[in-house]
Symmetry: C2
Subunit: 228 residues, 2 copies
């Protein structure tokens, strides 16, 4: 998406990640550093860095002096992860919304209005637009104490996408629901809705879902144990 400002390790990271998520690399398949580096036309050092990063995200496993493999994953982890991420994301956004300063909110809204205006005008300066966009997100993450937490969640969802393509063929309705609600909340924030209103929506979402879902998952696993 960005221009030539991306480093080669970033390039390698994105290439391998997409290959894993597209299914071009199967779970369990070995990832040989030299092979990848030749294929991408870069040296092994950036590839190595990319692989370690993917390891940190849980998409590949890595063993000293042995090498990397595309992670094999227990499908059951999918549910646990959905459950946990849904909660943590809700909590992060909720508390964040409560803590953001009014000045930051109004500034972010001003920028957002500018962006909307630009987007609907006839000739759009793409560079200026992306600069605004970046600033918008920077304000939010600077004033919001949850930047790192939200990063964690982002990586978690990435991992879920991998789980989905590698072990399931479908998306559990629970995950979809969560994504929808998340989108709705983002929309609320970007609209002129009152901050308190956003917060209420998030809080409601967070408190409403986990218990029932956990109960359901637990019952299923109990049944699985009794009649194998």
């Amino acid at each position: 998406m960005t221009l030539a400002a991306t480093s080669k390790s970033q390039l390698a990271y994105e290439a391998v990640r997409e290959s894993i998520q597209n299914g071009r690399f199967d779970p369990g398949q070995r990832l040989v550093l030299e092979g990848i580096s030749k294929e991408l036309g870069v040296s092994v050092v950036p590839v190595r860095e990319a692989i370690r990063r993917l390891e940190a995200e849980g998409l590949v496993t890595f063993e000293r002096n042995v090498g990397a493999r595309v992670a094999r994953i227990d499908p059951r982890e999918f549910f646990v992860t959905v459950e946990a991420l849904s909660y943590i994301e809700g909590a992060a956004i909720s508390l964040g919304a409560a803590l953001v300063t009014p000045e930051a909110i109004s500034e972010a809204r001003g920028i957002n209005a500018q962006m909307r205006e630009m987007a609907t005008s006839d000739h759009l300066d793409a560079q200026e637009f992306s600069r605004l966009n970046e600033r918008f997100h920077r304000i939010l993450s600077d004033s919001c104490p949850n930047a790192h937490l939200l990063d964690m969640v982002d990586r978690g969802w990435t991992r879920l996408a991998h789980l989905r393509s590698s072990t399931f063929g479908f998306v559990p309705e629970r995950a979809l629901a969560s994504t929808d609600e998340h989108d709705r909340i983002v929309q609320l924030i970007e609209s002129d809705a009152d901050a308190r209103e956003v917060e209420m929506a998030v809080r409601e979402h967070r408190l409403a879902t986990p218990q029932a879902y956990l109960q359901k998952t637990h019952n299923e696993s109990a049944n699985r144990k009794e009649q194998p």
Copy 2:
């Protein structure tokens, strides 16, 4: 703790992390790759890898062609993170306990008994002991679908330690309580307690704490806004 089997990048990682957490490196301080590599007597490549890993954990920030700094952190993030990690950890352990196979549990218990025997005998073979220990944890993480989630939580707690040492001078009682409960649960698992008993303890912990704490945090932040 382990012997010479640790790589140099691992060494660099641990050295820098401890320096940050001990306060020898202040928040905002620059971390120059070459300086660190000379100080540790290793090359810059492993140091670079260590720094990127610390970045992934949120202890340092990294900017292309500029370098790394010890992360400055909003103290308020502490509370949000404690809240979220407490929950996610509880959920992971709880669901994990429900999903682990009985065979894995009994095998893990066998190894644990061996370890206890060795530990109380007169001459202890440290190498054999650590091998057993490693196997013990491997069984648990292989049979438990939450390995990655628990890793995330581990990294989160690491970050909290950093937050604590760099911005607070104290540990909120909530964090301590959570750690205590966590230790208690680990003890339960390593003892011969029934799996269901463990699960109940975790579940109770998880459901009992977050809501009250979130409410409290929210009220505090509301007060802060009204009277500044």
